[in-house]
């Protein structure tokens, strides 16, 4: 895979952006449900910034966490339309909630033996796990809030980032209640 460092730098150094809403959608695990939800966004010209889908506790259901930006009115309509889908049990906007919202990122960096020490130091500061190390590269993994991840990536950008994968936000509400 060829990597375009310019693309990565634009992706990772985006200046303050429109607030991203974090929706948690609990769905019946049936074919087409993701397409139906995606359509609710696409039809109204909204971009999905991040998307995590995984089976919920019971295999019959799935949990989706969707990060999306756009005008709040449009988003309110999307939330209502998504909630209305037959296979959707509920759709909740966690923006502004006191919910736990975390991301996980893996970064592959081109690192010479001379640079390795500094990379590890940065890694330690951000609580990274080093998943892979070769003569010329490393893979670091860390988790945290979006802002922390953004900062970590910014610090690592002085090295050559070969590849970067972010899960996007996953969310869980605090206390006993379900998301």
């Amino acid at each position: 895979m060829t990597t375009n460092p310019t693309l990565i730098s634009t992706l990772t150094s985006l200046p303050p952006r429109a607030p991203i809403h974090t929706l948690s959608v609990y769905v019946a695990n049936k074919p087409g449900v993701l397409a139906r939800i995606a359509q609710c966004f696409a039809r109204r010209g909204f971009n999905i910034e991040s998307l995590v889908v995984s089976p919920a506790m019971d295999g019959k259901f799935s949990r989706m966490t969707i990060g999306a930006s756009g005008n709040p009115e449009g988003l309110e309509q999307i939330i209502k339309q998504v909630s209305k889908l037959i296979d959707v049990l509920r759709c909740v906007d966690h923006t502004g909630d006191d919910a736990i919202i975390e991301e996980l990122v893996m970064v592959k960096i081109a690192v010479s033996p001379a640079e390795r020490g500094e990379v590890l130091q940065i890694g330690e500061h951000f609580g990274c796990k080093d998943l892979d190390m070769t003569e010329t590269s490393m893979i670091l993994m860390f988790t945290g809030k979006t802002e922390k991840i953004d900062t970590g990536i910014r610090m690592l950008k002085k090295f050559k980032i070969i590849e970067l994968v972010r899960t996007g936000k996953i969310v869980m509400s605090r206390g006993e209640g379900e998301s």
């Binding site: 087409g32 139906r36 309509q77 339309q81 909630s83 209305k84 889908l85 037959i86 049990l89």
Partner: protein, 598 residues
């Protein structure tokens, strides 16, 4: 129509053991197609509007082998099938069922599905699909129907096992007919409709994300009542939801108790009798001047089962800006979608109004009603008798002759708006029109569907020469079944509504609106066995010709009405504008291009 499927042989594959099983719950020897037909029977289906093709043959075969009492109506185009199912559903309240084949057969239904979706009409569309192993490989007549229809259905299924058919059919009917109704698509691969169905026909539904609408919140109802009780200039807006929930009697009781005037949407016609003294008729872009003025001047507007669509509100920021705005709707997503409201209640229109009526008091609306009465006198619906045969006059005369239970289905365009203005709809479910979608070609097949559902009613298709030519092939369908549908072709050799816009907003530059080359529609009707064609050219003959059509019962009767070409529909509120911009007569100056969509 409960069926135990026990009588007689069901196809060659039936063994005596299976026949024994059929007495009980299991029908193990049915194939997918047969199970489907039996399930349709169990859901009370009377008609299937359909068109066969390779992938649907097992289903069509099952119609024969199950000896089902369901009547198969072979249409001439799949779009016609969907509009017939739609017209049937709107006239009877029961879901219409369509069966077509894969690929082009299925894609031809999309216009009809979209039409039903926009107007909340219950419909089940069953499409054949290529065999499962070929799906996604561009097989002959393969189309991704599940994907293609996704944005225009309430729900859809791609069936993966014949064992799922009983559950899916049960769910489909439940979804199509409850809550806010809508179309459901079931895509069945040919190998699935051919393989044995091993599950019982009374399968359990599995719909964890779909329940009944939430219970009505009494605080919301009380807040609405309190607002109403303070109003002196209220306006009730009656929408399609009133008809869907059979709320017409309670809406009438509410209006009479309050002494509140009632206006209706295009699809709300029949929800409140348009000959009632409190009725203001239809509002909106081509609504009556007095309904629109009432909307502009009221101190409270309460929509019951309408979605405050763009043809009603015009300019959202100015819509009832100084009035208390209230919304009653079964669909939560409609609340605050187009306009912000002060109070709302989510629930079935009938149930909400039944509750609401207990909390309201008679209002002092005498001055308000007198004011509106003067508007009715000063700004009536009107047309000039002189200057040739006008669509308005034909419709006005027809209105005087129609029995109150006659069903009127319209197509889309100028004739539709004039019909909405001049045909006074008195009873529920007697007005059928494509409102949200504005689907040309809808009216005639919808009238056929309505006639199937209400065989004893007088059914009129009021169509223009443009729209009629989109689905006129269904003349054959009407003839075969000897349906006495009356077809009023209001023929101005023009796509009149577009021509009107070009005249008013595009310096009269006509583009693509001249329908030269129309056939003689009366002769065309005569060419079909059992159909009768009549021609109406002079105003003096209107009653005579309409009467002749009413007296013809052996098949469809078409009246080709040669109308003047250049009439425009007024009143008109240009799209996206407020009531201030309403035009009552032909304007003397060039108008600005409207900012609204259409």
């Amino acid at each position: 129509m409960k069926s135990t499927a026990s009588s007689g042989k069901i196809g060659k594959k039936i063994t005596s053991k299976a026949e024994k099983d059929a007495e009980g719950v299991k029908l193990s020897a049915l194939d997918g197609g047969q199970a489907l037909i039996k399930c349709l029977e169990n859901n009370g289906v009377e008609f299937i509007w359909g068109y066969p093709g390779g992938s649907a043959i097992p289903i069509f075969d099952a119609i024969v082998t199950t000896k089902t009492p369901i009547k198969l109506v072979l249409v001439r185009h799949e779009q016609g099938a969907t509009h017939m199912a739609d017209g049937y559903a709107r006239a009877t309240g029961k879901p219409g069922v369509v069966v077509v084949t894969s690929g082009p057969g299925a894609t031809n239904t999309i216009t009809g599905i979209m039409t039903a979706h926009m107007d909340s009409v219950p419909m089940i569309v069953i499409t054949g699909q290529t065999i499962s192993p070929m799906i996604g490989k561009d097989a002959f007549q393969e189309a991704d129907v599940f994907g293609l229809t996704m944005p225009v259905v309430k729900h859809s299924y791609l069936v993966k096992s014949a064992d799922d058919i009983p559950r899916i059919v049960k769910e489909a009917f439940h979804i199509a007919t409850t809550g806010r109704p809508g179309p459901v698509v079931i895509d069945i691969p040919k190998d699935i409709s051919s393989q044995p169905c091993k599950s019982p026909l009374d399968a359990e539904m599995d719909l964890p994300g779909y329940g009944p609408p939430p219970a009505i919140d009494p605080r919301q109802v009380q807040a609405i009542a309190a607002a109403l009780n303070r109003s002196t200039k209220p306006l009730i807006l009656c929408g399609h939801g009133v008809l869907i929930s059979s709320a017409a009697p309670v809406v009438r009781a509410l209006a009479e108790k309050l002494g509140a005037p009632v206006t209706n949407t295009l699809l709300g016609k029949g929800g409140f009798p348009e000959d009632h003294p409190l009725s203001l008729g239809m509002l909106g872009m081509h609504g009556t001047a007095y309904a629109n003025k009432a909307m502009a001047e009221c101190d409270l507007i309460i929509s019951i089962g309408s979605r405050y669509d763009d043809r009603i509100i015009g300019q959202a920021s100015k819509f009832c800006a100084n009035a208390v705005r209230i919304h009653i709707d079964i669909d939560w997503a409609e609340i605050n979608k187009m306009i912000q409201v002060h109070h709302y209640c989510v629930g079935d229109a009938r149930a909400v109004v039944e509750e609401l009526i207990k909390h309201v008091i008679p209002l002092d609306t005498k001055a308000w009603l007198a004011h509106l009465e003067s508007y009715k006198k000063h700004f009536p619906l009107k047309y000039k008798i002189q200057g040739g045969l006008k669509m308005q006059q034909v419709l006005d005369e027809l209105n005087n002759m129609l029995p109150p239970d006659a069903i009127v289905a319209t197509d889309v365009g100028q004739h539709q708006m004039w019909a909405a203005q001049f045909i006074k709809t008195i009873q529920p479910d007697t007005w059928i029109s494509s409102g949200g979608a504005g689907t040309m070609g809808f009216g005639f097949p919808a009238a056929i569907g309505a006639q199937f559902g209400k065989p004893h009613a007088q059914v009129w298709a009021i169509v223009g020469d443009g729209g009629f030519q989109m689905t006129l092939a269904e003349l054959a369908t009407a003839c075969i079944h000897k349906l006495p549908v009356k077809i009023l072709v209001l023929n101005n050799h023009y796509l009149g509504m577009v021509r009107q816009w070009q005249e008013l907003f595009f310096d009269s530059r006509e583009s693509g609106v001249n329908l030269e080359g129309n056939p003689d529609f009366a002769k065309l009707a005569d060419a079909y066995p059992g159909a009768k064609g009549l021609t109406l050219k002079r105003p003096a003959d209107i009653r005579k010709i309409l009467k002749r059509a009413m007296e013809y019962h052996d098949g469809p009767c078409l009246i080709n009405v040669e109308c003047v070409k250049s009439e425009n529909v007024y009143p008109m509120i240009p799209a996206g504008r407020s009531v201030d911009a309403m035009i009552l007569d032909a304007p003397k100056i060039q108008l600005e291009k409207p900012t609204g969509s259409t």
